[in-house]
C-alpha cells in the first residue's frame, strides 16, 4: 500500500498527485512528459528536492514514512526495500553479469549470495550470461540482467519505468508474465510506468492516469483506459 501526496516543481514542470495505491500492480499511464518517471523517482527516493527541484509532500510505503518534507524525513533509496528498473539499465561496466547481480548482496554469505544470483538469473532467463562482460550484452539481455540485479535484493516495492523497451514483443510478454508470477509469489507491490495502452490493458492492473503532472483518473484499467481500448480495437480492425 502506497500513500502519496506530492507537490514537485522542476524546470517549469509542476507535478501534483495525492492518492493511495492499494493494488498489487499499478500502472502509471500517460503521454511522455506527464510526470510518470518523476513520480517513480520520488517513490524510490532518488529525488529529494535539490538541484532545481522543489519538493513538498510525503510518501508512505506500507505504513512506513519514506519521505515527509514537513518533518524533514527522507529515507535513502537503499533502505526503502524498493527496486527500480528503467530503460537505462545502469549496469556497472567494470563488473561482469554475476558481479552486477551480486552488487546489492554484499551482506550475504558467499554461498547464499551465489544461490540468490543463480535464482535471479534463472528468473529472467539469463543464466547463460553469468560470466559475460556487460559490454558484450545486447540491449534486451542488459535489461534482463538489470531486472535480476534489482530483484535480487528482495524488495517490497518494485518500480518499473518502461523496462522492456529493448525486448521484442514476445520476449517482453514472457518476461512480464514471469515477473507477475514472481511478484505475486513474493507479495511484492509493483508500479509500472508506460505510455503504451496495450501494456497497461494486458496487465489488467489499477491505472493511475497522469496528464501534465496531474492525476486525471485512478481505477481499473478497463474503466480508466476504456477510450484507449476502443482506439486500439479500431486500429486492429483497420489492420485486419
Amino acid at each position: 500500500m502506497i500513500d502519496l501526496a506530492i507537490d514537485a516543481r522542476r524546470n517549469g514542470f509542476h507535478l501534483r498527485v495525492e492518492c493511495r495505491l492499494a493494488s498489487a500492480w499499478t500502472v502509471f499511464f500517460g503521454p511522455s512528459g506527464a510526470g510518470k518517471t518523476t513520480l517513480l523517482r520520488l517513490l524510490a527516493g532518488l529525488d529529494r528536492g535539490e538541484q532545481g527541484t522543489a519538493l513538498a509532500g510525503r510518501v508512505i510505503l506500507e505504513g512506513r514514512v519514506m519521505t515527509d518534507t514537513a518533518h524533514k524525513i527522507w529515507i535513502r533509496p537503499g533502505r526503502r526495500q524498493t527496486a527500480f528498473v528503467t530503460q537505462h539499465t545502469g549496469l556497472f561496466p567494470h563488473l561482469n553479469v554475476e558481479a552486477n547481480v551480486a552488487f546489492g548482496l554484499h551482506k550475504l554469505e558467499k554461498a547464499q549470495r551465489r544461490r540468490r544470483v543463480d535464482e535471479m538469473l534463472d528468473l529472467v532467463d539469463a543464466s547463460e550470461l553469468r560470466s559475460r562482460r556487460t559490454q558484450e550484452l545486447s540491449g534486451g539481455q542488459a535489461q534482463r540482467v538489470a531486472m535480476a540485479r534489482a530483484l535480487a535484493t528482495g524488495p517490497r516495492l518494485l518500480l518499473l519505468d518502461e523496462p522492456f523497451s529493448a525486448l521484442d514483443g514476445s520476449a517482453s510478454d514472457a518476461l512480464l508474465e514471469r515477473l507477475q508470477h514472481w511478484a505475486r509469489q513474493n507479495d511484492v507491490q509493483t508500479v509500472m510506468a508506460t505510455h503504451d495502452a496495450a501494456d497497461a490493458l494486458a496487465i489488467g492492473a489499477e491505472v493511475l492516469l497522469l496528464r501534465e503532472g496531474r492525476m486525471a483518473a485512478l481505477g481499473p484499467a478497463s474503466q480508466v483506459l476504456a477510450m484507449e481500448r476502443e482506439r486500439l480495437r479500431e486500429r486492429l480492425q483497420i489492420a485486419d
Binding site: 532518488l46 533509496p77 537503499g78 545502469g90 561496466p93 562482460r133 535484493t153
Partner: protein, 225 residues
C-alpha cells in the same frame, strides 16, 4: 649530480602522493556526492593552493608550524621537534600545496560517471563509502592515475614552499629544486643544466607514461550504459 637531493625529492614526492590520494579520494567523493552550500566552501579551500603564491603558503605554514603558535607547540610536543625545517614539515607543506592537483582530476572523474549508474548503486544499498570504492573509483582509474602523476610531479618541482618551510638542510630538506637554485646562485651553470635536465626528463617520462596509459585505457575502456 646531488644524488642525496634526488633521493630526497623522490621520497618526498612518493610520501606526499600517497597521503594526497588517501585524502583526495574521500574529499572528491564528498564534493561529488554531497549536498549543501558548505560544499562550495570546501571546494574553494581545496582549490586555494592553486592560486596562492607558494611563498605565501610557505610563509603561513612556517609561522603556523613554528614554536610561537599553539598548533606549532603541540605538534613539536608530538613529534619531539618542530615541523618547520624538517622532512615531515615539507610533507605537510607539499600535501597542502599539491592538494588541488590530486582532488580536481578525481572530482572530474567521479562527476563523469553516468547518473543512472550512481542511482542503481544507491538503490542497491550502497552508502557513500561503497559508492566511492566500488563504483566511482573503479570507473575513474584514469583520473586516479592522473591525480597521482600530477601530485608526484608537482611535488618534485616545488620550490617556494620548500624554501620557506624547509630551508636548505642536506639530507632533510634539500630537494633538487633547491640544489638547482644553489647551483645557479653559484654560477655553476653546467651542473644547473644537468639538474634541470633531470627534472625535465622526470616530468616528460611521467607524462608520457600517463598519456600512454590514457590511450591504452581509452582503447579498452568500457562504455557506461
Amino acid at each position: 649530480m646531488d644524488w642525496q637531493a634526488f633521493a630526497l625529492s623522490l621520497r618526498l614526492a612518493a610520501v606526499t602522493t600517497a597521503i594526497l590520494i588517501a585524502i583526495a579520494v574521500p574529499l572528491a567523493g564528498l564534493l561529488v556526492l554531497g549536498r549543501g552550500r558548505w560544499l562550495a566552501v570546501v571546494e574553494a579551500l581545496s582549490t586555494l593552493p592553486l592560486v596562492l603564491p607558494p611563498t605565501v603558503l610557505g610563509f603561513f605554514l612556517l609561522v603556523l608550524l613554528g614554536p610561537r603558535t599553539f598548533v606549532g607547540r603541540e605538534i613539536a610536543a608530538l613529534f619531539g621537534h618542530p615541523l618547520a625545517f624538517s622532512f615531515e614539515g615539507l610533507v605537510v607543506g607539499s600535501v597542502i600545496y599539491s592538494l588541488p592537483f590530486a582532488v580536481q582530476p578525481l572530482v572530474a572523474g567521479f562527476a563523469s560517471v553516468r547518473p543512472p549508474l550512481v542511482d542503481a548503486a544507491r538503490l542497491l544499498g550502497a552508502g557513500p563509502v561503497r559508492l566511492v570504492l566500488r563504483l566511482l573509483l573503479p570507473l575513474s582509474r584514469r583520473s586516479l592515475l592522473t591525480a597521482a602523476v600530477l601530485s608526484f610531479l608537482h611535488t618534485v618541482g616545488e620550490f617556494g614552499v620548500v624554501l620557506m618551510l624547509g630551508g636548505d638542510i642536506p639530507g632533510a630538506t634539500r630537494t633538487l629544486s633547491i640544489v638547482l637554485y644553489n647551483q645557479v646562485e653559484n654560477f655553476n651553470y653546467q651542473a644547473a643544466m644537468r639538474t634541470a635536465g633531470l627534472l625535465i626528463a622526470m616530468s616528460v617520462t611521467a607524462l608520457a607514461f600517463l598519456y600512454a596509459e590514457a590511450q591504452r585505457h581509452g582503447a579498452r575502456g568500457g562504455r557506461q550504459r
